[in-house]
Amino acid sequence: MDKLQLDQHISKQFNEDLEDIKTSMLEMGGLVEKQVGDAIKALEDADSGLAERVIEVESRIDEMEMDIDETCITLIARRQPAASDLRLVVAVTKTIRDLERIGDEAQKIAKMAIKLSEEGNAPRGYMEVRHIGNCVRKMLNDSLDAFSRFDAEAAIATMKDDRQVDMDYKTALREMITYMMEDPRSISRSMNILWALKSLERVGDHAKNICEQVVYLVQGRDIRRGNHS
């Protein structure tokens, strides 16, 4: 059942255009999810080949963002969408920006993976990467899921996960600092792990932004920066 009623327009072409931008966005989201997963795997397995592939695919994500953006601008110019249609177009343009940035973070993690595979493994920190990585991948997955189902409640629930991610990140940060103090020779490698953790934490922030867009899309209210009233 199509809850957005994309197929209810008098204009058939308008229906199709709206369907298209949503589908393209979700397709881009799927690719970005895979990128994050691959980047984490490359880091854990010190797989520089996989990391290289992540870096290659990144340019494809940039292209997708530009394509969808252009489609949205054309749709605004030609159709002057209003109400929920307008909110959908706006939410898509904002979401693809967050997806593109998540793609950038995946690329950064992939670069760290290459460095680590060259310099030798870091002594510690992989568990934290795996844990936070799993959390933000789930957040990203849930946020896109909420978008595709236009489910504001699910989006709000997912947003709350970001607090845990932030806390876990801070804990991991403290632990990494302790390792570095214990063994200064590991500082360079530990720093690489830290950058990767920072990137993962940012992925969580972007997933939260996507959830905010879902709430805006469904309920028409702007809840950014804690504006929950």
Partner: protein, 283 residues
């Protein structure tokens, strides 16, 4: 009152499947400082009821847009506001309509005097078959607003200036009003309406016969006029309503469904019927 429905997005049925009219319009139909106030207004054409129990305030110096599909009663309601419906046989208006607190449907209210206070601009420009000057001077003469020629000249110039037409016609005031282009004719009609210093101006699709440039000029004019006048405009162009009005009222089959800040109506309307109409989902 029926509850504000779940946003359309959340529902799996079409707006028309379970469309319900609210007992009262959702949103903010009332205003503290109102110029015109309508309470329990019903309008009938013979046996047929065209307007059902409408309650709404029109605030001082606001531009309120009335939108809705054809036959929704928006023009009928607009015409009730200056008693244009009096001339329609079989048309009965009930309820309370007050202008500055004064009931406009009492016997002692002179419809002609009322229409001087509440002017109207129609869909098709309808200048009198007279000179440009006389078109504007007609009302002030009729209502005795000028005692000397110089005063009348001033009224004509001020009105044409306010209507944004003065520079285009000042050298040919003696030419017939009908010699002007469509857009100019419409601005002439607006000049004619404001020449008698009305308090309120009603516009019934004032741009539907005009090209985009002329439309843009009229819209610009509406925004300027709203500093001094209260304006109610009926329009089929939703973009026009979005551009010029402060509040938007949505009508559906004679029922007032929603009144809200224009910005809200066009980004996140409260009622499902408003949503369906604005996004083009009726059909």
């Amino acid at each position: 009152m029926t509850n504000v429905p779940e946003p359309l997005l959340k529902r799996g049925v079409t707006a028309m499947d379970n469309a319900q009219y609210p007992d009262q319009a959702v949103g903010e139909p009332f205003a503290d400082d109102h110029k015109m106030s309508l309470r329990n207004v019903n309008v009938f054409y013979g046996d047929k009821q065209a307007i059902f129990d409408v309650n709404i305030d029109i605030a001082r110096n606001e531009v309120i847009a009335m939108i809705g599909p054809s036959g929704c009663g928006k023009s009928t309601l607009l015409r009730s506001i200056n008693r244009m419906n009096d001339t329609v046989e079989g048309c009965v208006v009930s309820g309370e309509l007050t202008l500055d607190g004064e009931d406009i449907y009492t016997a002692k209210m002179d419809p002609v005097a009322l229409r001087a206070r509440v002017g109207m601009v129609f869909q098709k420009p309808n200048p009198f078959p007279k000179s440009i000057y006389d078109n504007v001077a007609y009302g002030p003469r009729l209502h005795g607003l000028a005692s000397r020629r110089a005063e009348l000249d001033e009224i004509v110039e001020t009105s044409l200036t306010r209507a944004g037409l003065w520079t285009e016609v000042k050298d040919r005031l003696d030419q017939p009003g009908t010699s002007l282009s469509g857009g100019q004719q419409q601005r002439l009609c607006i000049a004619r309406a404001i020449a008698i210093s009305p308090e309120m101006i009603l516009m019934d699709e004032p741009c539907s016969a005009l090209d985009p440039i002329a439309t843009a000029k009229i819209e610009e004019l509406i925004t300027e006029l709203s500093q001094n006048y209260t304006i109610a405009i009926v329009t089929h162009s939703m973009q026009q309503a979005a551009r010029v009005s402060h509040r938007t009222a949505y009508f559906h089959l004679g029922h007032l469904i929603e009144v809200n800040e224009t910005e809200k109506v066009f980004t996140a309307p409260e009622h499902e019927l408003t949503e369906a109409y604005i996004t083009g989902r009726f059909g």
